[in-house]
């Protein structure tokens, strides 16, 4: 039996970054808002206090803060000719769950995409010709918004997080010490950059000698104490080296818990319900309007929550799945190229270079999730791609996020994975090595998509999401080129030796890469090429909004959080200034 609850103005499905942002924005506009989160409540003092937060086994390897896949996972395959099988254990990406979700265990790497990243198709086609954007069956698109339109909302997110960094482009004027390739910023970062440890410092020196443009990684691991516009207080990072994959016990990493929840949870028009999983969005018989959502709680009780607006603010894989399960938008068909829901799923193309010194003590355990010196010379279209055979790029970071010994011991080329030789290499190199991270774009392609699995079902009997994905030739070429550029910097550091970990072979679900899944509910300028408009409003059902990186038509060479947060603020702004006055489509399709 389904119990029908009292109607509300807006229901949030999922309560991570975008749920917290939309909750705060809509509650401040006076709306009655209910958030439904399928995981538990989490707070710093209870769940990752400094007395026990630095626990590699429990958090990283036993998935303490991650989605438990035992009763709901997704199925995976590299191409349509394979049978998709369940991802039985987390690996390639570490999905979040619970209040704050991935915003609790992220690195805090806060990047803006480049102005040209929003024009992936038109810009590259204009500069390099039609083949550049159609080879390898690429299906890249423009976003339907520009960097300049999104900039105020990037700025808003920076102020909420207290982002630490150095501007490279202030209102069009290039600033020394920052990233000269970035789009113009309206303001300097709220707090100064973090101090750099030895490894990133050596990287920056070598990169500068090669004529590159090193700068400190912009970060939500705060360099100093900060009070944000919502009155939330963050402390200075202690460089404990247990950041990404962990919760911060020190209130130093920007997260929903440290930046928004202390404010939002006190609002009288906000309600949070945990252990409540939304099964589907309910539509009117003509399918033009959502009436609310049906959810089931961990006691097995089913409810209908009527709402004037439904905000899908879960992770992209859940948002896309809910769109498919609810019949919102036409599912994508890779054979015909028709349909939009599930189209242009993309990822992040990662590789690395390990650097080993004979005598330099790097102390890798002194780290933070975004502690790095970076070069952006080979990202996006910051360099001439003529004759290279690919579009896109990567940032290259001399990064030390920590020295957690189960995960982060680097051994030289040819070292076996076990035995005395491995042990001796670990003992010799642990303090004297670190890694350069090559964080590459991933261009969407015709055969990469999300749909519903025909065989596997979750504990509620719903089809699991099916992911069909492999890196394209474009991404392999990009990654090889970028890995060579990183190796140049590595060699310029005069190490004893280096080891190149190239991106080879098909995508595998086993080794950890990044939790930067994108696409499937992409944004665009018309309903034939996209699921949502520039305000993340679904074209087909105007009172349903789909948040998150699902809106990215392809993935740029940066971490996605700041961009998806900025899109959420832009959506909230349009809802407040236009939609609430006249509910309906915000853009004519």
């Amino acid at each position: 039996m389904t119990t029908t609850l009292k109607p509300v103005d807006a229901v949030l499905v999922g309560f991570g970054w975008t749920g917290a942002i939309m909750g705060q924005q809509l509650c401040d506009a006076g709306l009655e808002v209910v958030a439904l989160e399928r995981g538990p409540w989490r707070d710093t003092a209870t769940d990752f206090a400094t007395g026990f937060a630095q626990d590699e086994l429990r958090y990283m390897w036993r998935h303490h803060l991650f989605q438990n896949v035992s009763d709901d996972t997704l199925t995976i395959r590299n191409n349509v000719n394979q049978e998709a099988l369940p991802m039985r254990h987390l690996g390639s990406f570490l999905l979040g769950t619970g209040v704050g979700s991935g915003g609790v265990h992220w690195n805090g790497q806060i990047w803006r995409f480049l102005p040209t990243d929003f024009l992936t198709k038109s810009h590259n086609q204009q500069r390099y010709g039609k083949k550049a954007v159609s080879d390898y069956d690429l299906t890249v698109q423009d976003w339907g918004i520009t960097y300049d339109e999104l900039e105020p909302f990037y700025d808003q997110f920076d102020k909420v997080c207290g982002t630490s960094g150095k501007a490279g482009n202030l209102r069009g004027k290039i600033q020394s010490g920052g990233n000269p390739f970035e789009g113009p910023r309206s303001n300097e970062y709220p707090t100064p950059p973090m101090l750099q440890t030895y490894g990133p410092t050596l990287f920056g020196k070598a990169a500068a000698e090669l004529g590159r443009h090193p700068f400190p990684h912009p970060t939500g691991n705060l360099s100093e104490a900060y009070v944000n516009p919502l009155g939330a207080q963050l402390g200075a990072c202690t460089y404990c080296g247990f950041c990404e994959k962990f919760g911060c016990g020190n209130y130093s990493k920007a997260s929903p818990q440290t930046t928004i929840l202390p404010y939002l949870m006190r609002k009288s028009n906000f309600t949070l319900k945990t252990e409540c999983e939304v099964l589907r969005v309910e539509l009117t018989p003509d399918r033009k309007r959502a009436t609310g959502v049906t959810y089931v709680n961990s006691a097995g009780e089913e409810f209908f929550q009527p709402a004037e607006m439904v905000i899908l603010s879960a992770y992209i894989l859940q948002n896309v799945r809910l769109l498919l399960l609810s019949g919102i938008g036409k599912p994508y068909d890779p054979k015909t190229g028709e349909g939009v829901v599930g189209k242009n799923y993309a990822y992040q193309t990662m590789s690395s270079v390990n650097v080993f010194f004979e005598d330099k003590i790097i102390n890798p355990f002194i780290g933070a999730g975004a502690l790095a010196t970076v070069i952006d010379d080979f990202n996006g279209d910051n360099f001439d791609h003529a004759g290279l055979g690919f579009i896109g790029g990567a940032y290259i970071a001399g990064m030390v996020t920590g020295g957690r010994p189960i995960e982060m011991i680097y051994t030289p080329q040819g070292t076996p994975a076990w035995g005395l030789e491995w042990k001796h290499a670990a003992a010799k190199n642990y303090l004297r090595s670190f890694s350069l991270s090559i964080h590459g774009s991933c261009m969407s392609a015709r055969g990469n998509y999300l749909d519903l699995d025909p065989t596997y079902r979750d504990i509620h009997g719903r089809p699991m999401l099916r992911m069909t994905f492999d890196f394209t030739g474009n991404d392999h070429k990009m990654s090889d080129y970028l890995t060579d550029r990183a190796a140049e910097v590595a060699r310029a550091m005069n190490p004893r030796e280096i080891k190149l970990n190239r991106r080879t072979g098909p995508w595998s679900v086993v080794p950890y890469q990044t939790t930067h899944n994108t696409g499937g509910a992409i944004m665009g300028d018309n309903p034939r090429n996209s699921v949502v408009n520039r305000y993340l409003q679904t074209w087909d059902v105007p009172n349903v909004f789909s948040m998150g990186a699902g809106a990215f038509p392809q993935n740029a060479g940066y971490n996605p959080t700041a961009t998806l947060a900025a899109l959420a603020y832009m959506s909230a702004d349009a809802i407040k200034s236009q939609y609430l006055k006249a509910p309906g489509p915000l853009v004519r399709g």
């Binding site: 102390n363 005395l420 072979g505």
Partner: protein
């Protein structure tokens, strides 16, 4: 949590619903352990917080094996001694108490596969599709030890893996690692080897409260100071050795009586 948590908290302090406090704390601990099925809760008007519910880590306790049979223990002790052998550079896996760690892990939620999806059907996948077994980790260990000892008897002329000379043990482990040895009993040799090696390194390098990394000797060997919380004063001291000896959640020898 009710609609007026402030009021409820006062009741707790007055002892009015003391039984409720215990119940809530127990429920909270279950959720925080990354397990499913905590009771649904509604929060409104305040930031929920309750004293006495901190999610302390689940410490391994007792002595002797709870999970391993004597045959399994013989295999595990022999195998992990080859994966991480002992010498003057640092402890071996046996010296670091890794078999005890593995036993407690396999006897608990990890062994039960509490974070594995184990539903069917179970066709064999591609290497890229990762773990594709119906077995939980505990079941896989059980089946694998029997299958490996069966293989050793049939092909290597010893009664069990543990009875092989160490050079032959290494050869057998390499065969499992590469998948050139195929096993009976539905055990994928590569999957099992990958899990055993990963779990062995976990026991070697995790906090001693989980039963391995005895005396933090593995941390000492590489120079990892352990669960330190604050390195601010060391960030700019490039190239210097941090002199702190390792520390775990329960401190270090010298802080208290062993």
């Amino acid at each position: 949590m009710s609609k007026k948590p402030g009021l409820d908290r006062r009741h707790f302090l007055l002892g009015g619903v003391a039984a409720g406090v215990t119940g809530a704390a127990a429920a909270a601990a279950a959720v925080h352990d990354g397990e499913l099925g905590a009771p649904p809760q509604t929060f409104r008007g305040s930031v929920p917080w309750q004293e006495g519910t901190a999610d302390a880590p689940p410490e391994a306790s007792g002595s002797g094996y709870l999970f391993f049979t004597p045959e399994e223990a013989a295999f595990i002790e022999a195998a992990v001694a080859r994966l991480i052998p002992n010498d003057e550079v640092g402890p071996g896996a046996v010296e670091a108490n890794v078999p005890f760690f593995l036993d407690r892990q396999l006897a608990g939620p990890f062994g039960r596969g509490d974070h594995y999806y184990l539903g069917g059907p179970w066709p064999k996948g591609t290497p890229e599709q990762g773990y594709q077994s119906r077995y939980s980790p505990a079941q896989l260990y059980r089946a694998a030890v029997v299958a490996i000892d069966t293989y050793v008897r049939a092909n290597l002329g010893a009664a069990a893996f543990a009875k092989l000379a160490v050079a032959d043990q290494d050869k057998a482990l390499k065969g499992l690692e590469s998948g050139t040895i195929t096993l009976e009993g539905g055990v994928d040799s590569k999957s099992f080897f990958a899990m055993l090696l990963q779990n062995t390194k976990e026991g070697y390098f995790s906090d001693p409260i989980y039963g391995g990394n005895k005396d933090m000797a593995a941390w000492k060997m590489i120079g990892f100071p352990g669960a330190h919380y604050d390195y601010k004063e060391w960030v700019s001291r490039h190239g210097e050795r941090v002199p702190y000896p390792p520390v775990g959640f329960k401190g270090r020898p010298g802080w208290r009586k062993a």
